[in-house]
């Protein structure tokens, strides 16, 4: 079932990232995603980055479909199916959100007065949704160091006591997820990670996005730190489009 939805508002977030807002009468929970069809170009999984009256997808241009998508204007239509995937658990109390690159898009729906954010990116102009956190709850980390701390995401983690939070939510490149996992493992804190793998069907049958026999599209994309602990493929191997297993 393909939904055809009019873009009500477009927002340019960074030089390479824009958000498209649309009205969609569906209940979506934090962490879920949709498959966005760009006719003639392809279909891509995208997390939903706003779940209020207006829903939103946040697009980073990296391939044919997303380059086409990011050029759409208000009044144009997007075509999508979903929502899919297991959402993050309901946040309660103080939470910590750790987003690398465009990973913050899938965490954005968890941002609130009790959320602290570690927002990491390669360059300072790529920091995403940082301004949506309360000023004193924003920890920016960039590799160029023009804004925030200079370094990698773990440097941001040095600034907080992870056990102060009821739950830590993490999204970004898998190497980053693995680094965060290694750092917080063993601490007394719940944590959930949103995984990104090469996804084709979105409905749990094609085996493209699988990790240790779990389908990221239906069993995930969110997994608890305990679940990741049992996955030998986490942070080590992934499947190419052909299904060939390669090192990450």
């Amino acid at each position: 079932m393909i939904n055809h939805l009019k873009i009500e508002r477009k927002e340019v977030n960074t030089p390479t990232v824009s958000s498209l807002y649309f009205r969609w009468d569906r209940k979506v929970k934090p962490g879920q995603f949709v498959m966005v069809w760009v006719p003639g170009f392809g279909e891509v999984p995208m997390s939903i980055s706003s779940i209020g009256d207006l829903k939103c997808i946040t697009v980073k241009a990296y391939g044919d479909s997303t380059r086409k998508l990011i050029r759409l204007k208000e009044g144009d239509f997007i075509h999508l199916r979903g929502p899919y995937g297991r959402p993050f658990s309901e946040p309660e109390g103080d939470i910590l959100l750790i987003g690398g690159g465009s990973g913050m898009a899938s965490l954005r729906t968890l941002i609130g007065p009790r959320a602290t954010g570690i927002i990491a990116s390669r360059t300072s102009d790529e920091l995403l949704f940082s301004e949506e956190f309360e000023k004193e709850k924003r920890i920016e980390v960039t590799e160029d160091g023009i804004r925030g701390l200079k370094g990698l995401v773990l440097m941001g983690l040095d600034q907080v006591n992870v056990e102060d939070y009821s739950c830590i939510y993490v999204c970004g490149p898998e190497k980053m997820l693995k680094a965060v996992y290694e750092r917080i493992r063993g601490h007394k804190v719940r944590a959930e990670f949103s995984l990104e793998r090469s996804m084709k069907c979105g409905i749990g049958i094609c085996d493209s996005c699988s990790i240790n026999g779990y389908q990221v599209c239906v069993d995930g994309p969110t997994f608890s730190i305990e679940e990741l602990g049992e996955m030998t493929e986490f942070g080590t191997t992934k499947l190419l489009s052909s299904g060939r297993r390669v090192q990450i």
Binding site: W37, H79, I203, S242, G243, R245
Partner: protein, 300 residues
């Protein structure tokens, strides 16, 4: 004493519910999990000589009672597949290696590799409806089919299953050509497409695909019945099975065992366990000790 165990196509299964080729069977860990969660056996994704990425998405279109897919035979290539079989074999149940090729020589090479990897049987994909030069283009030529089956039967020690296409004018002609197989697997998907009226475009990137799911069950039942009525060959039924009644219908039409694919979307990997448990209840209630007692009982 009721037993779900069956012998079909030259192998023994502890239960008759097999994972169909193309669904959740590209990598070893997934196959292992599907076996652990209740399937009696798994058939691998179809593996070819060379690595293929398949088509770019959209590769599936979902309707209420059907799915149309055009994955485009993605696979890591036979040379990279031994490792996956090795991982899957920790599931300790039969693995059937599905292979596709355009001619006899490549089929033999693939079958030989699969045998070396330790699979319990090979399933010849003579029926994928959406890739030029492979699948049903091979499988609709009875002379070629006879040649492929004869060659593989003559060279391999493991059983040879042939998966046939419903997209032919006479399924019986092709079944006769493949009758030396240890089992016929009926049916592959029905050639189909989806058009999106809003954008005036075919939805699948390949335009054409294969339809599976509940909607094709009547077609599958007809093929199984038509073939079993005429030929003395083991049949494995596949096409739209989502509950135990569907499975019984296939068995009564002449199937000794059955495969499940699309039902995984709605019911998850647990569908195998659910169907076999329900079958067991049915057998107890109807004093059926072995499913073999029901094979073909509907044939008139």
């Amino acid at each position: 004493m009721v037993s779900l165990a069956v012998r079909v196509g030259g192998i023994n299964l502890e239960n008759p519910a097999i994972l169909a080729s193309g669904i959740l069977d590209e990598n070893g860990y997934t196959m292992k999990r599907v076996l652990e969660e209740g399937a009696g056996a798994v058939v691998t994704k179809s593996i070819g000589v060379d690595e293929r990425n398949g088509y770019y998405p959209p590769v599936v279109v979902e309707g209420n009672s059907y799915l149309i897919n055009a994955m485009g035979l993605p696979n890591p290539g036979i040379e990279n597949y031994g490792e996956e079989i090795k991982i899957a074999s920790n599931g300790r149940k039969p693995i059937i290696g599905s292979i596709f090729a355009s001619g006899v020589d490549d089929f033999l090479r693939l079958g030989t590799s699969m045998e070396d990897f330790g699979v319990s049987a090979v399933e010849l994909n003579l029926s994928c409806p959406h890739v030029r030069g492979f699948g049903s283009e091979v499988g609709s030529d009875p002379v070629l089919v006879r040649d492929i089956v004869k060659t593989l039967k003559g060279s391999l020690k493991i059983p040879v299953w042939s998966k046939l296409s419903p997209n032919v004018s006479s399924i019986l002609d092709i079944a006769e050509a493949a009758v030396e197989s240890d089992a016929l697997v009926l049916i592959n998907t029905v050639r189909a497409m989806a058009i999106d009226a809003e954008t005036r475009m075919p939805v699948l990137s390949n335009a054409y695909g294969g339809m599976s799911g509940e909607a094709i069950k009547p077609v599958g039942l007809r093929c199984v019945y038509e073939v079993k009525k005429e030929l003395n060959v083991d049949i494995i039924g596949v096409g739209g099975i989502s509950n135990y009644t569907d499975a019984l219908e296939y068995i009564m039409a002449g199937a000794s065992s059955f495969q499940i694919g699309t039902a995984v979307i709605k019911s998850g990997r647990g569908v195998f366990k659910k169907i076999t448990e329900d079958l067991e209840v049915y057998m107890n209630n109807n004093s059926i000790e072995r499913l073999s007692q029901l094979v073909g009982v509907a044939i008139r």
